[in-house]
């Protein structure tokens, strides 16, 4: 590590940082890309179809259709990049990035493995080291920014369907954010800190001490709100393809569309990472007190992939809500539930002290 750093004229800390950024973002992006395929194959199997299985490398190597990702990428890349005449050009260009960047950035805070000490220096496996003062507030704030991506995309394309989708999505996101934040606050409260590293260590390595067991109500609220946040199927009001064409990405084509799609999947990855961190012990390996670094990373990855799969699974099980049902669920169910959760935990804490 030190040798490589001096070779690149960097300090070891800087090199480690760069490495982490590359690993995390490349990893999340490729996972997101793989999940576009997983979603299609998984949904096909759930619906007794077959799904994309024919794309092959060089027309021969058919790795159960995984080459579809490559094929799609190439196709998207070479498509004509159209912008509607009356679109707001600058915002139209900016929108995919506005959607994509916050979706990726939320992941920066999440420790994807156990910290380790090497050569008298501690290495933390998260892009932002623990104790940076932002903690879990950071992904919540960044998640709030995701509204802009959708809304700007909808606004700039100058299309009625788009703006309808964008408005609905932003309303849904904003109203679910409250319930979600309250659910997270009750975790902060029981943990006594809002740093993800603290939350993970407080949960311990035994599955029944994880937050999912301690706060099942909070988990249900948080999980539901995550669906609204990521704009995925029971709450995909941004797209709603049976109602408003394709919602906010109606006018987007080629690479812009693919960026928007990738943003959705990156968002899904971040959301499942958050769920794993907050409620399922992050990188803690069940029943192993002192896991090795590799084991903890593998365990975290497994949790991440599992929750991403649950996102896919629920999407192909539950039909879309009606808009008023969504609002009712958000304000009349999720918000009171998360408040009850908060109050109950506060009461328990006051009793035990």
């Amino acid at each position: 590590m030190d040798k490589l750093a001096s070779l690149l004229h960097l300090t070891p800390a800087l090199l480690w940082m760069a490495l982490k950024v590359i690993i995390v973002f490349a990893g999340v992006m490729s996972l997101a890309a793989i999940f576009t395929w997983v979603e299609r194959r998984g949904s096909a199997m759930i619906q007794d179809r077959i799904g994309p299985n024919r794309a092959a490398l060089f027309g021969k190597i058919r790795i159960i259709g995984l080459a579809q990702i490559l094929a799609d990428g190439i196709k998207m890349f070479f498509k004509e990049d159209l912008a509607p005449t009356d679109a707001n050009r600058n915002l139209f260009w900016l929108a995919p990035f506005l959607a994509f960047v916050p979706a990726l950035m939320g992941f920066a805070i999440i420790p994807f493995g156990r910290s380790f000490v090497s050569g008298g220096q501690t290495y933390h496996l998260s892009v932002l080291d623990p104790g940076n003062g932002m903690g879990m507030l950071y992904p919540l704030a960044i998640g709030g920014m995701a509204v802009y991506g959708v809304l700007v995309a909808a606004w700039s394309s100058n299309n009625k369907w788009s703006i309808l989708g964008g408005m609905r999505a932003s309303a849904a996101m904003v109203s679910y954010e409250i319930g979600m934040s309250l659910a997270v606050v009750s975790i902060f409260m029981t943990t006594g800190g809002y740093d993800p590293a603290e939350i993970i260590t407080a949960q311990g390595h035994l599955p029944w001490t994880w937050n999912i067991v301690r706060q099942p109500l909070g988990f249900i609220v948080f999980f539901t709100c995550m669906f609204a946040e990521t704009n995925r199927l029971p709450f995909d009001f941004a797209e709603g393809e049976s109602e408003i064409v394709a919602g906010f990405n109606t006018e987007f084509g080629s690479m812009k569309y693919s960026l928007l799609a990738l943003a959705e999947y990156s968002h899904m990855m971040t959301a499942s990472a958050l769920i794993a961190t907050l409620y399922f012990g992050g990188w803690q390996v069940p029943f192993v007190k002192d896991p090795t670094v590799l084991m903890s990373v593998a365990c975290f990855l497994m949790k991440l992939v599992f929750f991403a799969w649950v996102f896919v699974w629920i999407r192909w099980t539950v039909p879309r809500f009606r808009y008023d049902q969504l609002m009712k669920l958000g304000w009349k169910r999720m918000l009171p539930l998360s408040m009850v959760n908060l109050v109950v935990h506060a009461w328990f804490m006051s009793q035990s002290h």
């Binding site: 998984g42 096909a44 199997m45 759930i46 619906q47 007794d48 179809r49 077959i50 299985n53 249900i220 699974w313 629920i314 192909w316 099980t317 539950v318 669920l329």
Partner: protein
């Protein structure tokens, strides 16, 4: 007449929404697992170019003009099919031929040209019904497509060989008996 729609009263368990979603997820997961462990070839979907659907009995597909064992066409050019065809897509020209020589004076009829315009054919099977000789059959080939219009005009030899490969028969392109010129009866 009005119909009274009964509204289903949901139990409290169903109204929590969480439990029904979990039930639904169990169903979809069951499908997923079942499909995951079924090889692709055995699933419902027929993967078309690799696998083909076995058509049911009585399916009306591409026509075949039947032949005798020696390769002679069964059709006697009676024009019944041409008359019966609702799409008017059969056109036949008859000719006479004979095994015997002219002086023996025995003649038979067969089509010199037998054309079906497959672009107009509606695969109704009327020609098959009308044929007194069982010479035209609609069989199970459904892959009737071509790159240009001309290749959709099936001639006599095309129609006689449509199922040659499937039945393991030889392709033929010649009548076993030569045509004889029309005999003129000299009074």
């Amino acid at each position: 007449m009005g119909v009274i729609v009964k509204k289903v009263e949901l139990s409290w368990l169903d109204r929590t929404y969480v439990w029904p979603v979990m039930k639904g997820m169990a169903i979809t997961f069951d499908h997923f697992i079942r499909n995951l462990f079924t090889p692709t070839a055995k699933r419902y979907t027929i993967q078309y170019p690799d696998m083909k659907k076995e058509m049911p009995e009585g399916y009306r597909g591409l026509h075949e003009l039947k032949r005798f064992e020696d390769g002679a066409i069964k059709c006697v050019a009676c024009f019944m099919c041409q008359e019966a065809c609702p799409a008017r897509c059969i056109s036949i020209e008859a000719e006479e031929f004979s095994d015997l020589n002219i002086t023996q004076g025995f003649e038979e009829k067969r089509p010199a040209i037998f054309k079906i315009d497959m672009l107009r054919c509606i695969y109704c099977g009327m020609c098959e019904e009308a044929c007194p000789k069982d010479a035209i059959w609609l069989r199970k080939d459904y892959e009737v497509a071509a790159y240009d219009r001309l290749s959709m005009q099936y001639g006599k030899w095309d129609l006689m060989n449509t199922y040659a490969a499937a039945d393991g028969k030889e392709r033929i392109s010649q009548d076993p008996t030569p045509t004889v010129p029309r005999r003129t009866i000299v009074m």
